[in-house]
Assembly symmetry: C2
Homo-oligomer: 368 residues x 2
């Protein structure tokens, strides 16, 4: 008869799942520098978008309720699987909770082992801003100097930093229906040395800007931007319209220029494009990055990036955070998977723990 | 100008995510008793199956590779959302890793907050056995005393305990192509006081048994049971055939009696039923539990439970483990979601951490 001690002598493969808590990610960002992190995630996104066809992609799996949505976003290539859990609850401020909270996982395709569990609330803010900057570098006028930021909530500082650092934007025109949100954004950006101007409505804020970023949170079909506000040569970075019933751009704004998206099947359902017919022309951004398709054709053209957030960006962001945590020797682990002396003896894992803690209420007693 | 200290004075809603590690779950099981846990999970499953129509259900989302599969299994009712991450890699024993590893989450539908992250490798073994017992209580002959266990791997002890404790099975007939697996199972069951008999092939093992449980792991269309092995009155508990290309029962076995499943759209793709035409009759188990449909009609009838494992069972198992951890005061927490003084000031969370750790490489320096 085998006993557990004998089994224990076999080679044991310990499953260590790295864990990055919200606090740890904040520490990593501060050690590395936030602008550096946004630039790093942007570089990882570009790298992954250039191998677009290596990935097994699908639209996210959403559970909708009356007050919000909870989504799972999986993606994988031959080596690494990733998924993100993310919610969207616009009324969460009533509970003093963030609208969007997230975490994610990297796993090994060869064995299915989860290698990393990480917070993604902070990291998603960085990856969304990085993605916007990647798109704008390919689509906005290279001489862009001013950007309007419509919506001054949790994502707005990250957008400002990304565009300042990666596109050289010098001045930010701010508007939000919540004056406190704008107060907060001005305080944070001023502290970082960024130049801001406050406006009393969207029309005034966007006037004369090279780039317009909309990043509002209401789960409604809004028209934050109307066609008359759009000027020749503007690049529209539409971030907030990202799920069915949640749009920011008037349909005629989308008709003013070529529209670019991440993953077409998902963007047609979730993006501002949900307002348009199924044959409305759109270009996937990876095709512009790879040189297969043209981005901006001329200086006075209006370009529109209809951002919704795609699983591959989280894959890139998780990869980046894991690599930086390793580089800075800031990794922790959690025990998510039992380490088994014999993989077929899962029961032995429980029995061994019982032996270790003493037979408080042993299975053998119950089975008698 | 606002500063972070001011923001901190507002009411703060701390997000505590409970965490149950593999070791902690093993301790909980030992404190509570393993048979008691299986019975508890079975009771929670029955409770949830009786409110079947309250749940938003979908087939699992699978990423297949040449060597295995990684799946996400979400389910929700109006209050609670759950999902499980689970892999299936039959060749993992080469790396001394379990074939199946899993973890899962419970979240609050009202706010999207993840309330619990738990290991599910051990818990899945318990819930699968509990589910088999729930089905067999509804379908097997009440006077059943012997069960064949074909496949003596990681799930087999849990099946034996569930059927001993919840159905009064007295003797287990064992067979596995891997003699070491049977050695291990006999060692573990003998230690628990359960009666076993070892056989040299499947045919001999199932002969004369009241219940036959197949729980083999090969990702192949196998015929573990052929029609000539099936005796009048047998209940077949088919556990191992659970994904496309992975079956255990000869098609003619399925034709010998009424077939029952968990969630029909998923079982037609993943169960042994994948071999049958789309109109092959099947009954969802919740309808038998609720009294809407008949289970076993007469003593000599052959009944077949084509188990694949459904997200709702994990929802039940996660609920049970959370409740028991709370009852035993064995909860831990992890910081998956940042606690924000002002939900719109996510950036402030990073800035506060920077202030606390000192400006190693501050954002303000980089932004200059």
């Amino acid at each position: 008869m085998l006993n557990h001690a004998t089994l224990k002598k076999e080679a044991v493969r310990r499953v260590n799942t790295q864990f990055l808590s919200a606090e740890r990610v904040a520490e990593i960002i501060n050690r590395k520098g936030i602008a550096e992190c946004i630039a790093g995630v942007a570089a990882y996104i570009e790298e992954d978008f250039l191998r677009w066809n290596d990935f097994d992609k699908c639209a996210r799996v959403a559970n909708h309720s009356a007050v919000g949505v909870i989504e799972l976003m999986p993606v994988a290539n031959a080596r690494t699987y990733a998924f993100k859990y993310v919610n969207g609850h616009p009324a969460n401020h009533r509970y003093n909770l963030p609208t969007v909270m997230a975490f994610g996982v990297l796993a090994d395709v060869e064995t299915g082992t989860p290698d990393l569990v990480s917070e993604l609330t902070i990291t998603t803010a960085i990856r969304t801003a990085a993605m916007s900057a990647v798109a704008a570098r390919a689509l906005a006028r290279p001489d862009s100097k001013t950007m309007a930021l419509i919506g001054n909530g949790a994502q707005s500082e990250f957008q400002a930093l990304a565009f300042q650092h990666l596109l050289g934007i010098e001045t930010f025109h701010l508007f939000d229906i919540d004056a406190n949100a704008t107060d907060k954004l001005i305080a944070n950006l001023t502290r970082l040395g960024l130049k801001t101007r406050r406006f009393s409505d969207t029309r005034k804020a966007v006037k004369g800007c090279d780039i317009v970023t909309t990043v509002t949170a209401d789960k409604t079909n809004a028209t934050i931007l109307t066609p008359d506000m759009i000027e020749p040569g503007m690049h529209i970075n539409g971030v907030g319209g990202d799920c069915p019933g949640k749009t920011e751009l008037h349909a005629d704004v989308l008709r003013q220029g070529p529209v670019f998206c991440e993953f077409e099947p998902q963007s047609r359902i979730e993006g501002d494009m949900q307002q348009m017919p199924a044959d409305f022309p759109v270009t996937e951004l990876w095709q512009v990055l790879s040189g297969e398709k043209v981005g901006r054709s001329y200086a006075d053209q209006v370009t529109i990036y209809d951002s919704v957030g795609f699983a591959l960006e989280d894959y890139s962001a998780l990869r980046y955070m894991r690599d930086v945590a390793t580089e800075l020797e800031m990794t922790e682990t959690i025990s998510l998977i039992p380490t088994l002396a014999n993989p077929k003896n899962l029961f032995g894992f429980i029995a061994d723990k019982r032996d270790a803690q003493g037979p408080v209420r042993a299975a053998v007693a119950l089975a008698a």
